[in-house]
Each structure stands twice: as structure tokens, then as C-alpha cells.
């Protein structure tokens, strides 16, 4: 573990909000990214990431320094997002939220690339909409955080074989959704990620 990180954890354990703030600063990107991939929009992702850090701070005494702090944090964030998805039935992303995020800001330096980026994002969310919360968490950790199956098992409190079977099922579902989208486009529908100009 990084020396500074160990020091911040030690100080945070003694009640220093400032020290934990440094940890928040260091890990905000991976935690937010995981929440975004799980929940599908920036508003919920921000809220879930903030809440995950608060939970981590509250339960810091339970953290085992032998484990990776990042894995421990992502484990808290994953479980929190899974709970949210189950409670609010957010397995499918609200189209309204995505549409509001899709409108590019006129002041953006390159609105076209921003628009493409957002369309790409919608495509990812459409692909992942059929995944169960736990499968989605496993996929996110595997593909966006490049976690090994052992690390995913540790983060999600699953056995390695359970992770393997969840990833297998998730890939099957993603491929099926892709093929269904392809078939739909063949019968005259435009692909959701393609510009009407093409």
C-alpha cells in the first residue's frame, strides 16, 4: 500500500475528515466510474459514489490493511449500487435521464464528438440493460476496472466459480442483445448509435 494512503487511513481512523478527504480525492474516479456503469446516469452515479464514500468512512474500522483499499472501496460501491438497482428497479436505465444528458452543451468545444460519445454511452447502457445487478457489477469490474476473477470474487463476496458463471451468462446476454439490435436494424430501424447522415 502507498505510504501516504496508509497514513491517511490511520489519521482517518482517528477521526480526521481531512485525511479521508484525501482518500476521496484519490479514488473518486474509479468509484464514480463504477457507479456510472452500474446505474447508467451521472446524477445517480454522483449520489451513489458520495454515499459509498460515507459508508466507507463509517466502516473504516472494518477495513483489513492486508487487502487492497481500492478493492475494498469498490466492493462497498458495488454492493451499494446493487441495492439501489434492486430497490428502485433500475436494471433498465430511464430513457428520460439519458435523453437529458444527450443534449450537448453549445459551449462544448467539440459538440459533435461529445454527441458521439453520448451515443456510444447509450449503446453501452442498452447492451447492459438486461443484465442482473450482480452480473452487471461483475462485468463492470472485469471490463472497465480490469479486475481478475479472484478480485471480483473478493469484491462481490462470491466464489470464483460463481464469478465465472456470472461472467459467462453476462457475455451471453450481451451478445444476444447485440444480435437482436442488429436484426432490428436489418428490418429498417436505424442503429441507436448511428448518425442519421450515414
Amino acid at each position: 500500500m502507498h505510504e501516504k494512503e496508509a497514513l491517511w487511513i490511520k489519521q482517518a481512523l482517528q477521526g480526521s475528515d481531512k485525511a479521508f478527504g484525501f482518500l476521496v480525492d484519490s479514488y473518486q474516479r474509479p468509484v464514480y466510474s463504477l457507479c456510472y456503469r452500474m446505474l447508467g446516469n451521472s446524477r445517480d452515479a454522483e449520489d451513489a459514489a458520495q454515499e459509498s464514500f460515507i459508508r466507507a468512512y463509517q466502516n473504516l474500522k472494518r477495513y483489513d490493511p492486508k487487502r487492497s483499499f481500492a478493492t475494498w472501496l469498490l466492493s462497498i460501491a458495488s454492493h451499494h449500487c446493487i441495492d439501489r438497482m434492486r430497490k428502485r428497479q433500475l436494471a433498465t436505465v430511464s430513457t428520460d435521464v439519458l435523453q437529458t444528458e444527450l443534449i450537448p452543451d453549445r459551449n462544448t468545444p467539440n459538440p459533435e464528438s461529445k454527441f458521439q460519445e453520448q451515443e456510444h454511452e447509450i449503446m453501452i447502457q442498452n447492451l447492459m440493460r438486461n443484465l442482473k445487478p450482480l452480473d452487471r457489477a461483475a462485468m463492470t469490474l472485469r471490463y472497465w476496472h480490469e479486475y481478475s476473477e479472484v478480485e471480483i470474487a473478493e469484491a462481490l463476496d462470491l466464489s470464483v466459480s460463481a464469478v465465472k458463471s456470472r461472467l459467462y451468462r453476462a457475455r451471453q446476454s450481451l451478445a444476444k442483445t447485440w444480435m437482436d439490435t442488429e436484426n432490428a436494424s436489418l428490418v429498417g430501424e436505424r442503429r441507436p448509435y448511428e448518425s442519421p447522415a450515414f
Partner: protein
């Protein structure tokens, strides 16, 4: 046509050996279904690997600090409510227990008025005690020199008395000299 073990190989994350790779390639050339699956998985992989990393809006840590304060305030309020409800619960339990114990000879109006009267009396006594305590604290600057003077006087008098008492004891216990007649 059987798609196994090729479908499993395509969907699992395991690294294939050269023999398995060759076998899979041969199967993909003849099986349209597995070819579609392979293409779909490849496309999905491309979509995932070319996606941008979502980043939070600037000021995430500052917002977290603010949220922490709000969270603590809410926790404190929740705790206060819990304690208040707990105390009410205990009081309710005691009153219920007392009522159950006395249920035969109970006169509700009398018991209630008695409880209110006792409660008022207790509150009045607490108030009275608090007033006396406040008056004493207020009068302390005036009373303090008098009390010190009185205390010093009392201490001196007691010291004199103790010395006199000890000297008397010593005198009385002195042995009588020989040859001196006692009348």
C-alpha cells in the same frame, strides 16, 4: 449441429491452446450461428474497450465534505429521536405495569390526576431547588469573605481547644514526685 464445446470457449474467459484455437476456427467457418455469436462478442468487446471513462464533476471532494456534515446532523437527530422514543417507551412500560398491578382497585381519573399532581410537585421542587442554587451562586461573592472569616475563626478556636485538651492530658498523666505527702 452441436455448438459445444465451441460456444463455451467463445463465452468463457479462458485462454485457448493452439489446438483448441484451430478447432474453433474450423468450426466457425462452417457454423453460421457460432460465427454470429463470435462477431457479436467481438463487437461488444470493441464497444466496451473504446468507451470513455466517466468522470465526476469538479469539486467532488468538497461536495463529499458537505454531505458528510449533513449526514452527521441527520444521524444526531435520528439518535435524539431514538432516545426520546426509548424514554417514552420505558415510561409507558412502567405506567402500564403499575396500572396492570393495580388494575382491580383502579380509579382512572384519580390515578391520572394523582400522576399529574405528583409530576407538577416534582417539577415545582426541581424549580425551587434550581432557584435556591442560583441565588446561592449569585450571593457567593458577598458571602465568600464572611464564610472565610468565620471558617478561620472556627479553625483557630478549635486549634486552641485541642491544644488545651492535650496539655491538660499531659499534666494529669504526670507521675507524682516521691516524698511529697498527700493531704
Amino acid at each position: 449441429m452441436s455448438h459445444q464445446p465451441f460456444e463455451t470457449w467463445l463465452l468463457s474467459d479462458e485462454e485457448l491452446n493452439p489446438q483448441q484455437k484451430l478447432s474453433l476456427d474450423e468450426h466457425l467457418q462452417t457454423c453460421e450461428e457460432c460465427q454470429k455469436l463470435s462477431n457479436a462478442l467481438h463487437q461488444v468487446n470493441v464497444v466496451i474497450t473504446t468507451s470513455h471513462e466517466p468522470t465526476p464533476q469538479p469539486g467532488f471532494t468538497q461536495r463529499w465534505h458537505k454531505r458528510l456534515l449533513v449526514h452527521r446532523h441527520q444521524e444526531q437527530q435520528r439518535r435524539m429521536w431514538f432516545i426520546t422514543l426509548g424514554l417514552f417507551g420505558i415510561a409507558g412500560f412502567i405506567i402500564s405495569a403499575l396500572l396492570i398491578l393495580n388494575h382491580q382497585s383502579i380509579n382512572w381519573v384519580y390515578e391520572l390526576s394523582n400522576f399529574v399532581a405528583n409530576f407538577s410537585l416534582a417539577a415545582a421542587r426541581v424549580n425551587q431547588f434550581w432557584s435556591i442554587l442560583q441565588s446561592m451562586i449569585k450571593a457567593l461573592p458577598i458571602l465568600l469573605p464572611i464564610m472565610i472569616l468565620f471558617g478561620v475563626g472556627l479553625l483557630s478556636a478549635m486549634t486552641v481547644l485541642i491544644i488545651t485538651w492535650f496539655s491538660s492530658l499531659i499534666r494529669l498523666n504526670k507521675p507524682i514526685k516521691e516524698g511529697v505527702s498527700v493531704r
